[in-house]
């Protein structure tokens, strides 16, 4: 049984998780667009080293990412190449926020990533803060679409 983080450990592990995400950001990649039913939101999965981490909501009206919790419904087709290139640029300009939330059921830290003043991504990091965790739900969604 591994020890659960507690006390000062918690602060240092959260700090390590934030640092891990900061280092990983430059290697993150946008994947193929995920669209729901016609007129649905445009979501872009973010990959790190071949594993999907989370989705970024894309706002086709502003040609920019939309914050978490605000998917943008869009009735027309979007240019996939353009969207991927915009999100690729956004990822290079993003940064890990200096704080993490711990999710007990997943035994993982959740580190928010921001672009300008918007939180656009949540990255799961292992309980010790040392490694990034894939999102199995997103993996499944990708397989159904691709």
């Amino acid at each position: 049984m591994r020890a659960e983080p507690e006390g000062d450990d918690l602060t240092s592990m959260a700090g390590k998780a934030v640092k891990t995400v900061g280092q990983a950001l430059q290697f993150m990649e946008p994947g193929p667009i995920l669209r729901g039913p016609p007129g649905g939101p445009v979501d872009v999965p973010v990959f790190y080293e071949g594993v999907p981490l989370d989705i970024i909501h894309y706002d086709p009206y502003r040609k920019a990412p939309s914050p978490k919790g605000r998917p943008v419904h869009y009735p027309a087709e979007v240019d996939e190449h353009e969207v991927r290139s915009i999100i690729g640029r956004v990822l290079r300009e993003s940064y890990a926020l200096m704080g993490a939330e711990y999710r007990e059921p997943e035994k993982a830290w959740i580190v928010p990533v921001a672009w300008r003043n918007l939180i656009i991504l949540h990255v799961r990091v292992s309980w010790d803060g040392g490694g990034l965790l894939p999102d199995p739900g997103l993996e499944a969604r990708l397989r159904r679409i691709v």
Partner: protein, 354 residues
């Protein structure tokens, strides 16, 4: 009702499934007597093995194990990280189904391409080819090899021993022709992906059980294990694409009936190779294998495996790679044209010698 419509639309979005369903209906109209026995044509051992390996591969992908293994090899890749990566990807495609390896390796190849200064499209095209060639060496690496080993009653060890000899030269050619990094590669060690142990163990147990039960000739017995594993994690199970199994069942039923209806005779040597290679470009390599079952197996294997490289539609793995990377299909063909031509000639030479 709405979810039923969504399921139906999802099923019909698979063009190959739609085409095979239409062909199935046409064959029923043309020859009802023949089609009444169509349920006997599929090899249920092959279907069970593919179903189990798909489940195992799904869990291995979700665990992050494959991505982390590839990352470690790249970090130790020294002056040739991309070449090491291609070899690692080919090696991974021996025990894991090719489509699953493509899901992990193509996004990883794009990150690596930026790191070492290689064009991303070239990296994606070479990566999917490494998966295709690596999986050709294995009796369980891709559906066409599973079909061939079952139909001709080949042992896993026997197939592996010969296939390694057949496909080692293509793999070395691929690695040799792959682009070198521009300038000196700056050493970098990106943070690791933490492997989800539960998923990795479930994936490995499924693949190992499928392999053992297939070797002892009871592949159908693996199905309860696969179904049980999928029920353990419904989030991962949601990615299980059972359309692949429907396509495989229909491909057997349609194409074996068609072969009987048209009295297609088995082919030998170069003729078998050229037919397999050509058909792979028209209908993709798995249906091409089923149409040509009965022909000499070595040229057939060469034709469908090397024939899976040149065009996007030659293999499902290529289509997945294009979708994941956003690579233009024409660019894909152009990048791989020199390698495809050399390997096409290599296949002719080996088919003559055999």
């Amino acid at each position: 009702m709405a979810s039923l419509t969504r399921l139906l639309l999802w099923l019909l979005r698979d063009r190959m499934l739609l085409a095979l369903l239409i062909l199935y209906a046409i064959l029923w109209l043309a020859s009802p007597g023949l089609m009444r026995e169509s349920y006997e044509y599929p090899d249920y051992g092959v279907l069970s093995l593919v179903a189990a390996l798909m489940g195992g591969s799904l869990f291995l992908d979700a665990s992050g194990l494959l991505a982390e293994a590839a990352r470690r090899i790249v970090v130790r890749g020294g002056r040739f990280p991309f070449q090491m990566f291609l070899l690692a990807v080919a090696l991974m495609s021996i025990p894991v189904l090719n489509d699953a390896v493509v899901f992990v390796s193509v996004p990883l190849a794009l990150s690596l391409a930026d790191m070492v200064g290689i064009e991303r499209g070239i990296a994606a095209a070479y990566t999917v080819s490494a998966v295709n060639i690596g999986s050709s060496m294995s009796p369980i690496g891709n559906p066409q090899n599973i079909i061939i080993t079952h139909y001709y009653g080949l042992s896993h060890a026997g197939y592996l021993a010969l296939a390694v000899k057949l496909y080692l030269i293509p793999l070395l050619l691929l690695v040799g022709l792959s682009p070198r990094p521009r300038g000196r590669v700056a050493p970098c060690n990106p943070p690791p992906v933490r492997v989800r142990r539960k998923h990795a163990i479930l994936g490995l147990v499924n693949v190992a059980a499928a392999l053992i039960l297939d070797i002892i000739g009871r592949p159908v017995l693996v199905l309860p294990l696969t179904i049980g594993t999928l029920l353990l994690d419904l989030q991962v199970a949601a990615g299980y694409d059972f359309r692949v199994l429907m396509v495989l069942w229909l491909a057997y039923a349609d194409l074996r009936s068609l072969s009987l209806l048209l009295h297609l005779s088995p082919l030998e040597g170069v003729k078998a190779y050229l037919a397999a290679y050509g058909l792979s470009q028209l209908v993709s390599n798995v249906p091409a294998t089923i149409i040509l079952l009965g022909s000499s197996w070595v040229p057939l294997s060469l034709g469908v495996n090397l024939g899976g490289l040149p065009l996007p539609q030659s293999s499902i793995a290529n289509l997945i790679a294009l979708r994941l990377s956003g690579l233009n299909p024409r660019r894909y063909v152009r990048v791989l044209a020199p390698l495809s031509l050399i390997l096409f000639a290599y296949g002719i030479l080996v088919s003559i010698l055999y």
